[in-house]
Symmetry: C2
């Protein structure tokens, strides 16, 4: 471990960057003890140097030119906290090639371009740390890469998107529509002005892809996994699930199933006394199952300025004291391991929750149950609600069907036929049921 | 990181040692990838070489002489998995001085003699790892020493003793007496034949002392903390708490309170919808609160062969790939930090649960409430049960009193006076209430 101070450049100075700068300024003595050397913030790169900011550490030069970092040989570590993948990828590649090590919180970057960046880092003898890319302040990358190294990991299961979880919690507890809860999430800063990637499952899927690569040495691109969001859920669905003893959560699952890998992100009914059900608001939770440790559960803030800054700082100190290089070398070695085959999406069997809005007239139920029966979907319970619910159109009824376990393929085929029935209004909503 | 295989000696080959040997034998290829070198179990030290064992790895010499390890310069790492503190301390000191690094799961050793061993290791340039000493498979040492290094830790709170938690869970869910549940815990291997250290709080207190040293750079010997066990609890207490909306858990708490340190292990009423309340059976849970990360919760198996072996193996791989030396150097530096003053035990204010068995005759309630009133203990609710409960002697009644917040000192003084009242049978039971 070198004696000289560690010189750090911050690339991007938004919410999380400001949090990191605050910790570096306010905790400097304690951080030196933990890192074994002084941590020195030597440069900040921003897009607009004239923008008013809540906090800028005294004496740190602020520039809008990334070359001021790339060309500065005194800088050891670039902490890159910008979103998107275009500039982020280009900067990261150039920083690594210029001899800087990299800490990043950018999940989209690591998910889509991790392999490319890891190759560049391997060739340049550099290190990449990305704890903050997954689940904010929860050290789940650390858990997989260091705490569970004696285990064959069998399952990763969790709530990885705080925005969706906030919206679902808010809808049920405050009796709000999806739109009302989304608007509140935006007002509180839990959702972006364009919330698409959060509510359609993409954000959780990107995080799950990163964890899947670490735990199973297998690349599963987001567009090859089951990825469904919360944007079709209504308050009536949450209430119906509640009356059946469940909460609906956006669940991310990556697991070994018959020696193959099953990976999905989708709204799922979880028993209401489970830890998953009790993960509320913007919190995240991840359960890792290993052959030796059993079930290890980590819960906490999955996003936000200071929790994410906490994860970034863990990487910075891991790097400063000399641990990160060893972890990253193991991540590189892990990529050479044989990868797993994906289980076809039609294969896994689940119980399902099915909600359809149907015309309120004779023989509708017979049509619906006939289709389910022909696809060998067995009904466990059924509820036909009065057409009085405010979200249900007049002259229509809401059918809630819980099925027994059936393969996804059969369920999808039945679902497609249901959607084509003239007595069904719009599309049916199909959710999986955990357990 | 050296290229040669890592030569490991196992000192102690009981339940956990056997688990470690199994993982080393069964996962060797995966472990090499994660460690960056081959892991080679080169010797096992046992007390009795002739004892029948469920599993002994092929080709590994088994000896009853520790000097076979101490004198073998080819051995890099001693994984010491023996209990007690006498032989364990002597062996550990000699192993470190002979140039071996040390992994241990012995909480009593690290709690009572950690400083002494750390000094020996520092002088000899050696490393000590002890993840498995606290909370079995839950990586809480890792969380404090690596994942939360950007934080000022404010609170450690958790269920750290699986035996007590199993007994309390069992009593309430199966309607068993303390004695019945303890006997079952012994039959299932969750409790030793002499369960004293588990049920009187000592085991949890030792673990809490280790975490307190890491998080707050402060030594709090077990005999200087509030340390109460579960051995005076009855099923009627658990049921009374349940009817009030609480579970009783053996809660370990170490936290900054008015710039001083409050450390306690004691049965505590926790709200029944909290994560603590829902930690059942032999599981452990720890919540770490940091100024940046907020509340981070870790839950899982707190003991048992394979979960503890999982933690031991994490240390072995941390050591093998070169991370452990950096973490241990930070642990040594941390000891030089200013330590915190202990908050006098009388200072912290809590709500309390008070249970007394009283003579069933006039004026008893007046005597009790008079004492509480004089000590400024304000009553929040009171329940006098019928004398019909099977645990309540005839001609007597059970009083359950919930108080408002009051300083521990006042509550203790009131409690002592109550115990001296002639109408009170035996001693009152006083539990704190969380929140």
């Amino acid at each position: 471990m070198p004696d000289h101070p560690l010189n750090i450049a911050l690339i991007g100075f938004g919410t999380v960057g400001t949090g990191v700068a605050r910790i570096l300024a306010e905790q400097s003595e304690q951080l030196s003890v933990r890192a074994g050397r002084e941590l020195c913030l030597s440069r900040i790169v921003v897009r607009d140097v004239d923008k008013a900011r809540e906090f800028v550490p005294a004496g740190v030069p602020v520039t809008n030119n990334i070359d001021d970092v790339i060309g500065d040989d005194s800088i050891d570590l670039a902490v890159q906290l910008i979103g998107g993948t275009d500039a982020a990828l280009s900067y990261a590649g150039r920083l690594l090639k210029s001899g800087k090590d990299l800490v990043t919180a950018n999940k989209a970057l690591i998910c889509a371009h991790g392999n490319e960046l890891f190759d560049i880092a391997a060739k340049a003898g550099r290190t990449i740390c990305f704890e903050a890319a997954v689940a904010g302040g929860i050290p789940v990358v650390n858990a997989i890469t260091t705490a569970l190294t004696g285990n064959r990991i069998e399952t990763i299961e969790g709530i990885l998107n705080g925005t969706s979880n906030f919206i679902l919690t808010q809808m049920l507890s405050e009796n709000q529509t999806y739109e009302q809860a989304l608007r509140l999430a935006q007002q509180l800063g839990y959702a972006e002005s364009d919330p698409t990637l959060d509510v359609d499952g993409t954000d959780a899927a990107q995080k799950l892809a990163i964890l899947t690569r670490l735990a199973f040495a297998t690349d599963v691109p987001v567009d090859r996994m089951v990825c469904e969001g919360i944007d079709r859920l209504t308050l009536a669905d949450l209430e119906a699930a509640d009356s059946l003893g469940y909460r609906i959560k956006l669940l991310a699952v990556s697991k070994i199933n018959q020696d193959r890998l099953e990976v999905s992100v989708r709204p799922t009914l979880v028993p209401d006394d489970s830890t998953l059900a009790q993960t509320n608001g913007a919190d995240n939770t991840v359960t890792l199952t290993g052959h030796a440790v059993g079930r290890l559960r980590l819960s906490g803030a999955g996003a936000g300025q200071m929790p994410t800054a906490s994860a970034v700082m863990a990487d910075v100190i891991d790097y400063a004291c000399g641990r990160a290089v060893n972890t990253f070398q193991a991540v590189l070695r892990n990529r050479q391991q044989p990868s797993l085959t994906g289980l076809p999406q039609e294969e896994p069997a689940h119980r399902y929750y099915l909600r359809c809005t149907v015309d309120d007239r004779p023989h509708v139920l017979a049509d619906v149950t006939d289709i389910l029966g022909r696809h060998e979907v067995s009904i466990s319970s059924m509820l036909q609600s009065e057409p009085s619910h405010p979200e249900t159109p007049d002259q229509s009824a809401r059918l809630i069907i819980m099925t027994h376990r059936v393969k996804e393929g059969r369920m999808r085929a039945a679902d497609a036929e249901l959607d084509a029935l003239s007595c069904i209004q719009g599309r049916c909503l199909r959710l999986s049921v955990a357990g």
